[in-house]
């Protein structure tokens, strides 16, 4: 029966198309009732669009609007002031925001502490004026006319310490107030800096971090002293100043102290084992295999003779002599330059 009924209904609709609300589509169109939006991704009929553009566009839009309206009419309806309103669902179509999502305001140091400890301040709205018993009138707790009221209240102050009679208690009170004000301001600024993630210098006694290492200092001093054109030869030393250790490589003109020759067999053995241990212990590995090895030349008999002469010469600058039949341009010869 149902099948028959549905066929009959379809037949009736076909007869008067201008009255029906049923629309047939190839694929269902997407709708978002929250935005009152219909998205019809079906392919367009280009032929109809070219021949009768306005008619085609109107009929196409009409069908889509009909579908949207059908869905809206199915929504739950309310009556407000004799007008029927439909309750729209939430918007599903995603649109970008104009501004980013606001971040929660960071708590101040005190607020954070109070929250941790569960401290609650009672006052919700602090009144601006307070009853004063002494003056028998309302005086403001802050701001306009507050200072005048305080002046009236404390026109006379007792001096009770003998030693400091000469000091001015009013000035003291003012200074103390100024101090409190600036402390509060500092805390306020610190809270702002914390909220904005700005690094600020610490306050209080300096710690170890503030000073460089003593070794570092002496190294810096040595390097600074030797950083002249003459490698610090003419620079005066401070009393008791010594060269820093372990920077002979970096500083030109500074000589590395050669290691002493081991005195006995035991010491030598100990040194070698230490060396081996050090190498085995360290994590550094030799990655390069093409490191240069100093080449040893077979010593000549003649050279050995020369060496002996050189060694003799090294003692001091002697009177220049001729090359003795051998010209060597590289050899340095002391003395005055002759022309």
């Amino acid at each position: 029966m149902d099948v028959v009924n549905s066929i009959l209904q379809n037949d009736i609709q076909k007869k008067d198309t201008h009255k029906s609300t049923v629309v047939n589509k190839d694929t269902e169109i997407e709708t978002d009732l929250g935005t009152l939006l219909a998205l019809d991704y079906n392919a367009l009929d280009l032929k109809a669009l070219k021949s009768q553009p306005e008619e085609y566009l109107r009929s196409l839009t009409r069908d889509n609007v009909q579908i949207l309206i059908n869905k809206i009419w199915e929504l739950p309806v309310e009556r407000v002031d004799e007008v029927t309103v439909a309750k729209l669902p939430k918007q599903e179509f995603i649109l970008p925001r104009a501004r980013q999502i606001p971040k929660a305001k960071l708590l101040t140091k005190w607020q954070q502490f109070a929250k941790e400890k569960g401290i609650k301040t009672k006052r919700k709205s602090k009144s601006k004026v307070k009853w004063d018993e002494e003056l028998q009138k309302w005086i403001p707790t802050f701001g306009y006319k507050r200072n005048k009221a305080i002046e009236q209240k404390e026109w006379l102050v007792e001096l009770n310490n003998e030693g400091k009679a000469a000091e001015n208690p009013f000035a003291d009170a003012k200074a103390a107030k100024e101090e409190r004000k600036s402390k509060n301001e500092l805390q306020r600024l610190r809270n702002i800096a914390k909220a904005k993630n700005i690094k600020i210098p610490k306050v209080g006694l300096p710690t170890k971090e503030h000073f460089a290492d003593s070794q570092q200092l002496s190294q810096a001093m040595t390097i600074a002293r030797t950083s002249t054109a003459s490698l610090g030869k003419f620079q005066d030393r401070l009393p008791k100043e010594k060269d820093a250790k372990g920077i002979a490589k970096q500083v030109p003109g500074m000589k590395r102290k050669a290691e002493e020759v081991p005195r006995n067999l035991q010491e030598e053995k100990k040194r070698n084992t230490n060396l081996a241990d050090n190498i085995l212990k360290s994590n550094t590995k030799i990655l390069r295999e093409d490191f240069s090895v100093p080449k040893t030349k077979p010593a000549k008999a003649e050279k050995s003779k020369k060496k002996g002469k050189k060694a003799a010469k090294a003692k001091g600058i002697k009177k220049p002599k001729a090359g003795k039949g051998e010209r060597n341009m590289r050899r340095k010869v002391g003395g005055r330059k002759r022309r």
Binding site: K19, L36, D40
Partner: protein
């Protein structure tokens, strides 16, 4: 010690309100639109922009002077305007030989450009040229997008998003059924978007739902897509983020019956009866012998447990 540098605060309440108004909000207001004229304009494009302004009216502002702004070359002047007027949407009308009857639509995120698209206007018929009864002002339109291009083409889908943003007006919870009067239809063909605007007429039908008839009220225009500058995927995704605070949390274990009484379901873990502290009495006190037995039993139980554990470990391993 004196205070060196105070952080500047607004001195008047009015200034304070103005600053708060411009700050980011959890639930945002309707996006305002600024309509500019470029250095040179044509009558057609200005009329079209004015028609769009009429459709958007309470949420748009039209600027009277001409501005020498080329958004695709330099966006900064527009960004400045958007900060000043607190308007994240903008339109600019211009006209030159290379790009006649040119309209640029765009939007901002965080007071910098998110995306914009440039349209050439063809086949324009204005709102006033249709001599038919018009819709009432400030009505939320129905938006219809036709054509597969809006789904398949990345550029067109972004433009669709921009157009929805531009014309959707306020987000509402309830809508008057008789107030559904206006349809804006966008049809994507080749590189054109055909903009049509209709008035809805509700007709009697054979069922409860009315039959729809449409009557064109204008403006009518074919928008040729020219240059576009779209946001990167990352930026767009970031801009589309929904705030966590607005998400509704699911309420568990609470139910309401037909009479309106609320029921709560509470889950309690198993009670450890043996170790519960009851009333202390001398008679209930354990004697020395009982204590010893208890200790022994505990010891044995512990051992058993360890054995069981071991066994289970073996079985799994």
């Amino acid at each position: 010690m004196t205070v060196i540098q105070r952080v500047v605060k607004p001195t008047t309440h009015r200034a304070k309100r103005a600053i708060i108004k411009k700050e980011p909000k959890l639930i945002e207001d309707i996006k305002q639109t600024l309509c500019f004229k470029g250095k040179n304009t044509s009558q057609i494009v200005v009329n079209f922009m004015k028609d769009l302004y009429d459709l958007k009216k309470p949420d748009a502002q039209i600027m009277q002077k001409k501005n020498d702004i080329l958004p695709f070359e330099d966006i900064i002047p527009i960004e400045k305007f958007s900060v000043k007027y607190n308007a994240p949407l903008f339109m600019i009308a211009s006209h030159n030989k290379k790009r006649p009857h040119n309209l640029i639509m765009g939007r901002m995120y965080e007071q910098t450009l998110l995306d914009m698209a440039e349209f050439g206007i063809e086949n324009y018929t204005g709102l006033k040229d249709f001599k038919v009864p018009k819709i009432s002002e400030g009505i939320k339109p129905l938006l219809v997008f036709n054509g597969e291009l809006f789904e398949n083409n990345h550029e067109f889908s972004r433009i669709k998003n921009l157009l929805v943003d531009m014309f959707q007006r306020d987000t509402v919870e309830k809508i008057r059924l008789q107030g559904l009067e206006h349809v804006l239809s966008f049809t994507a063909v080749e590189n054109k978007i055909l903009l049509r605007s209709y008035r809805i007429r509700l007709k009697k039908s054979d069922c409860r739902i009315p039959r729809i008839e449409l009557e064109e009220i204008g403006p009518r225009a074919d928008l040729i897509c020219r240059r576009t500058k779209l946001a990167s995927e990352d930026l767009f995704k970031q801009a589309c983020k929904k705030p966590k605070e607005l998400k509704v949390k699911k309420k568990k274990n609470i139910s309401v019956d037909k009479l309106g009484t609320t029921y709560g379901r509470i889950h309690i873990g198993a009670q450890n009866i043996n170790s519960i502290q009851t009333r202390k009495m001398k008679g209930l006190k354990k004697t020395m012998a009982e204590k010893k037995v208890g200790v022994k039993r505990k010891y044995v139980e512990n051992n058993d447990n360890s054995k069981k554990l071991k066994v289970s470990n073996n079985s799994t391993g």
